[in-house]
Each structure stands twice: as structure tokens, then as C-alpha cells.
């Protein structure tokens, strides 16, 4: 069973070997470390940039314009907020030149809370990301999706933001269908092949398993669990938490349909709306701050198009509108949606009687 970082690493490897990736770069992305989460270990084209996020995004744009295929990393999305203008510029390149230029690049960055990362390693970026016209935006919730979305991001002719839920990075594939195809079934074997050893790494070379060109289309959601009573729409690390909530609620006779969006833009309205039409109830869950939140957009669209389908007011459950996620466990838990909060909102919405 691979972890999400291993999956990302394998996708990047396939990217550089078969899909023209020329540069995988960012702070501590190259040797010796290969990324603060080990996501870029052993990659042929990985290199360390200066500690300068504006330079990183700028260089990625330039590389893309010059026909290279860059995958740039922002070490934590918390450090991308001084680059919004450049991200906007990348998203506008094709449009503002009336189709003359395009800007195929990938920016990857770890997002979200859940690891006691305190104020500056807990930020979400989904609300910001969905405000970047011209970008495609993805966020996987398991190794297979991470692998397949990264490959789709790499071959896309547009800028693609790949957000990796940091709390899931080191987690192994849990369920069937979450594994990267082609990897050895023994964890230790995979680890021996592609994880850099501790200590001196100068002579180490990875042995890559033979993994396929699995492309998970950008814009396609995944129904994580079928159900009839209520639709829960989420992504990233909250997929697992919502799955747990659904398990708990199944015991109470509430049958949850859980949708893992995977792509935030373009997003799979076909799947979401079909589900809401079936269950007539919906909760949108994410952990970004709740004022001007992407879940609110989804809720607005639900109201626009499905108002008369609804048996209960649709709900958004998101992070608190405060300046940061505090470090103490009590503070972190109170700041972003926890299992209990989710169970309560789903239950109330499922049980709601007009």
C-alpha cells in the first residue's frame, strides 16, 4: 500500500519520463531532502529553488511559456498568499493574449489543518484557488486519485493547482480502489524501492515500479459511498472524516451518499446535482474559513438550480472565520470541522422536517 506522498512521487516520475516534465522545483524539493514531506525524492528533474515563492511561481510561468513543463511546489499553501497576483497572471495568460499564449504548469502545495501545524501550517487554500479563473484546481483524498490527478495536471495545457491535504500525505491507501496500480503489494518492498534512506543519499537511486498512465479526468467527482437519504459533498481530508460520519449515521438509519469532488474547478455539477435530486438534502463540508467560502458557491448553485428539489435547507460546514488555526489541540479542534460537528449537521439536515 502506497502513501499519498509516494503516489505523488511516482506520478511525477512518470511525468518526467513519459510526459515531458522538465522541472520539479521549489524549496527543499531537490536533493538531499526531496521535499519536506519526501514527495520529490529521487526525481531526476527535481531541484532546489531560492527561498522565494514569487520567484518560484514566476519561474514556473516563464518555463511554461518557453515550452518546458514545470511542476513547482509552494512548500505550504500558507506561503502562497504573496503570489496571488502571479497566480492570477498565469490564469489570465491564455485569455489576455486572446489565445496566443498558453501556460501549462502545475503548482503543488500541501493544504489544511489536522497536524497541529499552528497558524502557518494549517491554512486551507480552496476558497482562494476557486477564485483564480483560468486555473484548474484539484485535491485528491487518496493515493490513487493523487497519482491520477497529478498525471492529468501534468498533461493539461492550462495551469493546474494540485492541493495535497497534508494530514493525508503519509497515510496509506485504506480502501480498495485507493491504491496506485502497479505498485508492489508489500509496503516495505515499495519503500525500499523509492524511499530515500536515512543518512547519506548521494549514491542512492530509486527503482521505480512500473505504473501506468492512469489519468483521472479533471472535472470528474467520485461517489465515495452511495446512499439515499442525504448527499454530503466534500474533498481532501474531509472525505475520510465524512465517511466515518456516514458509517456512524448508518447505525441510526441515515443513508448517506458521499461525493468526493476531487476537482474544485471545473467541478462535476452533473454528479452533484444528480445526487441532490435523488436525496433532496445536501451538506457541503470543507475546512477553509466560512465567510466567502467555496462551499457557499456550491450552496448558491444548489439554490439556483435545485431549490424545489430540497426537503431541507442545504448546509455548509466549514472552518471558523478567525485569523488562524491555533496550535493547542483544543483550539485546532474548535477551528475546523470535526467528526462530531459533521455528524450533527448531517443528522439535523437528514432529519429535518419542513
Amino acid at each position: 500500500m502506497s502513501t499519498m506522498v509516494q503516489a505523488i512521487r511516482m506520478a511525477l516520475h512518470v511525468g518526467e519520463e513519459r510526459h515531458g516534465v522538465t522541472d520539479i522545483f521549489g524549496e527543499d524539493v531537490g536533493p538531499p531532502l526531496g521535499g519536506v514531506f519526501t514527495q520529490t525524492q529521487g526525481l531526476r528533474t527535481a531541484w532546489n529553488s531560492p527561498l522565494d515563492e514569487r520567484g518560484i511561481v514566476g519561474a514556473a510561468i516563464g518555463l511554461a511559456l518557453a515550452g518546458s513543463r514545470p511542476v513547482a511546489e509552494i512548500q505550504f499553501c500558507d506561503y502562497a498568499f504573496n503570489t496571488i497576483d502571479l497566480l492570477k497572471l498565469a490564469g489570465a495568460m491564455h485569455w489576455s493574449s486572446n489565445g496566443d499564449w498558453s501556460c501549462p504548469m502545475v503548482v503543488m502545495t500541501p493544504v489544511g489543518a489536522g497536524i497541529h501545524g499552528s497558524i502557518y501550517h494549517s491554512h486551507s487554500f480552496d476558497a482562494q484557488a476557486t477564485r483564480l479563473p483560468g486555473w484548474k484546481i484539484v485535491m485528491p483524498s487518496n493515493p490513487r486519485d493523487a497519482y491520477g490527478l497529478m498525471l492529468s495536471a501534468i498533461i493539461d495545457p492550462n495551469p493546474v493547482l494540485f492541493m495535497a491535504p497534508k494530514a493525508l500525505l503519509r497515510q496509506k491507501a485504506i480502501n480498495e480502489g485507493e491504491e496506485v496500480p502497479g505498485v508492489p503489494s508489500d509496503d516495505r518492498e515499495l519503500s525500499k524501492m523509492i524511499d530515500a534512506p536515512l543518512g547519506d543519499r548521494t549514491k542512492w537511486r530509486p527503482r521505480w515500479p512500473d505504473t501506468p498512465d492512469l489519468l483521472i479526468p479533471i472535472g470528474e467527482a467520485r461517489i465515495d459511498r452511495h446512499g439515499h437519504d442525504i448527499t454530503v459533498v466534500t474533498y481532501g481530508r474531509h472525505v475520510q472524516i465524512c465517511r466515518k460520519a456516514a458509517d456512524d449515521l448508518a447505525g441510526e438509519g441515515i443513508d448517506v451518499e458521499l461525493i468526493d469532488m476531487r476537482s474544485l474547478h471545473p467541478y462535476d455539477w452533473v454528479t452533484i446535482s444528480a445526487s441532490i435530486k435523488k436525496t433532496h438534502r445536501v451538506v457541503f463540508v470543507n475546512e477553509d474559513t466560512e465567510v466567502t467560502n467555496f462551499g457557499e458557491h456550491l450552496l448558491r448553485r444548489t439554490i439556483d438550480e435545485l431549490f424545489y428539489e430540497l426537503y431541507a435547507p442545504p448546509k455548509v460546514l466549514a472552518g471558523k472565520h478567525i485569523p488562524g488555526v491555533g496550535l493547542a489541540d483544543s483550539l485546532e479542534k474548535a477551528s475546523v470541522p470535526q467528526l462530531d460537528d459533521i455528524v450533527q449537521v448531517i443528522r439535523a439536515t437528514a432529519r429535518h422536517e419542513p
Binding site: 531560492p50 511561481v57 516563464g62 518557453a66 518546458s68 489570465a92 490513487r144 489519468l215 470528474e220
Partner: protein, 345 residues
């Protein structure tokens, strides 16, 4: 500012061929006439806003002439700011296209009526889309240069911008990324110093005597020149480019230029007396050297003015973009074979 300007070093006095001088003059004059036409269009309501490069022709034209023009990393990349008409004409741009952009027609090849005048874009010549935010081009330029460093050959990246804008962190980013030891980038980093940012004079905003001095700490070769003299510009650019093309290392070139019609239409766009006018000075020189007559120069100006006036009338009849065009080109379409090859999930 009272800094003295270095002479271009070796070969500084070697004179350029008369043909080349006349070609430069022709392009400078056309660039000036074009800008004056754009200013007029805007004042007459045939455009919403004017910004451009009158006063930078003596630098911009030689720059354009010296560019290795083409598409892809084998050729030079240009990250221009919004005063690059002279450079574009020297590259061979059709001046009528600039009128189209001013008039925001659907036929505007640079932006389809989306962007301001002087916001050029030409993929066929590696001219990256000019965008209004000051200095972001200095953060992007190292990217094209990185690709060129890898590609090899003699293609280089050229980035231009104003003096005031060097206060943005992006200018420092450019110096840092281009000079990393062992990873130097083939970049000609240009600052056209007109000693103003809109209304704010250079003095009081800068601790540096010369902006070019900022390169020294990074081991970047630097030079400050009189950018109002096209001969000086030509020689300096050509020497700097030689260095960058061969050494594959950055060069920081500061050109002192004029801002002959003020900042933009927002500040009136009237001819400013008292600023050195590189075109006039050059004409005087060519006339003194008997390479040109006043009559010929005047005739050239009148003829081209007429031509553009007529062109402007035709452009006025060209269609504006249609409302649905806002949705065009939000996303580029897949053209990569891989997209079809892969297994769907």
C-alpha cells in the same frame, strides 16, 4: 539625479554604418509618429487609455533590431513593459495593429480588444504578453531563461521595466534567480530610467546612485548608458547581448531615457518641453553628418502620419468584440496526445 553615465567600453567610438543609422532613424520616427497617432486617437475618443514609449525610441529601436527573432527557446524571449512600441516596430510589427488595440477591436491581434494600448503579445516572436502590474515580468523572465540555459544555443531572455518599479521585490527576485552560482541565466536585464514613476521623482525614493549598481553584489555585469542616443544604445546593447549570448550569464543594463508625453493619457499626454528628445537629437546629428536632410525627415513624418491617419479611419470601422467573446480562451484546449492515450479512471 546627478550620476554620471559610463561610456560604453571598448568599441565605443567605432561608428555604425550609415545604412544602419538610417534604418534606426526610420524606425524611431515611425515609432514616434505611431505613438502620436495613438495619443490623438485617445484624445478624440477612439480609445479609452493611452500609455506608450515616446522618449524611449532611441533605446527601444536598437533593442528590437538586435533581437534574435523567432519562436521557442532557440530565439530571444522578450518580457516588455508598456513602453515597447519602438522595439515592436523594429521587430516588424504592423503599426496598424497598435491602432486596433487602441480602438479595442476584435481584430486587435495582441489581446482581441481586451487590453490597453502598448500591451503587446506575439508568440511568433517570443514576445510574452505585456501586463499592467509593474515588475511581475522580472519574476517570470528567469523562467524563460532557465529553459534557454537548458536548451543551449544563443537565445537569451530580455526583460525591460522602469526605474520606479525596481522598488518591487520582483526586481530583486530577478537579480537573485539570474545570478545563482553555477546556475547563472542568460538574461539581459534592462531598466529604462526616466527618473519618474507617474508623478514621483527618482530623488527621494532611491538610496542607489544608479540602479545598475544593484547588480554588483551579485557579480552581475552592469552598465548605465545614455539611452537617448541610439548609437550608444546600439553599441551597448550589442555588447551586452554578446556577453549574455556567449557567457550565458546575466547583464544589467540601465538606460537613461525620457518620458516625452508624460506618464500616460491620465496625465494629459502632452509633449514635455525640456526633456531630451532622442529622435530630434539624432536627426540633428544625421543632418549634420549629411546622412539626412530636414526636408526628407519632415516628409517621412508627414507621409507616415498620413498613412496612419487613413489606417485609423479604416480601423474605426472594424468590429468590436462581441459580448460572448468574454468566454473565449478562458482555457486552452488539450492538444497533447497523452490526454487520449491514458486509461480513464
Amino acid at each position: 539625479m546627478t550620476t554620471t553615465i559610463s561610456k560604453v567600453r571598448n568599441g565605443a567610438e567605432e561608428s555604425l554604418k550609415p545604412d544602419l543609422l538610417l534604418q534606426m532613424h526610420d524606425l524611431m520616427l515611425k515609432a514616434r509618429v505611431l505613438e502620436e497617432r495613438l495619443i490623438r486617437m485617445q484624445k478624440q475618443g477612439d480609445g479609452f487609455f493611452w500609455i506608450g514609449g515616446p522618449g524611449e525610441e532611441a533605446f527601444g529601436v536598437p533593442l528590437g533590431m538586435l533581437i534574435h527573432k523567432g519562436e521557442g527557446p532557440a530565439y530571444d524571449y522578450l518580457h516588455l513593459h508598456y513602453r515597447g512600441s519602438g522595439t515592436m516596430l523594429a521587430l516588424g510589427a504592423d503599426p496598424v495593429d497598435a491602432l486596433r488595440q487602441m480602438k479595442s477591436t476584435a481584430s486587435d491581434p495582441y489581446s482581441g480588444g481586451r487590453n490597453f494600448a502598448s500591451h503587446y503579445s506575439a508568440r511568433k516572436w517570443n514576445v510574452v504578453p505585456v501586463s499592467s502590474p509593474i515588475e511581475v515580468q522580472y519574476s517570470m523572465a528567469p523562467g524563460t531563461a532557465l529553459a534557454q540555459r537548458r536548451h543551449g544555443g544563443s537565445g537569451i531572455t530580455i526583460v525591460t521595466g522602469g526605474d520606479a518599479g525596481t522598488a518591487e521585490g520582483d526586481f530583486a527576485t530577478c537579480l537573485i534567480w539570474s545570478s545563482r552560482k553555477g546556475h547563472e541565466l542568460p538574461m539581459l536585464i534592462v531598466v529604462t530610467n526616466n527618473q519618474y514613476g507617474i508623478s514621483t521623482p527618482y530623488d527621494g525614493q532611491h538610496g542607489e546612485k544608479r540602479i545598475a549598481d544593484r547588480g554588483a553584489a551579485f557579480g552581475i555585469r552592469t552598465l548605465t548608458i545614455d539611452g537617448n542616443d541610439p548609437e550608444t544604445s546600439y553599441r551597448a546593447i550589442s555588447q551586452a547581448m554578446d556577453y549574455v549570448r556567449k557567457e550565458r550569464k546575466p547583464f544589467l543594463l540601465e538606460a537613461m531615457v525620457s518620458r516625452l508625453y508624460g506618464h500616460s493619457s491620465s496625465s494629459g499626454a502632452n509633449y514635455i518641453e525640456g526633456e531630451a528628445d532622442g529622435l530630434k537629437l539624432f536627426e540633428d546629428k544625421l543632418i549634420a553628418r549629411k546622412l539626412l536632410t530636414r526636408e526628407r525627415a519632415d516628409l517621412m513624418a508627414t507621409t507616415f502620419t498620413e498613412e496612419l491617419l487613413e489606417a485609423g479611419k479604416r480601423v474605426r470601422e472594424e468590429a468590436p468584440p462581441s459580448p460572448e467573446d468574454i468566454w473565449k480562451h478562458v482555457f486552452a484546449e488539450h492538444s497533447v496526445a497523452g490526454a487520449k492515450k491514458g486509461t480513464r479512471s
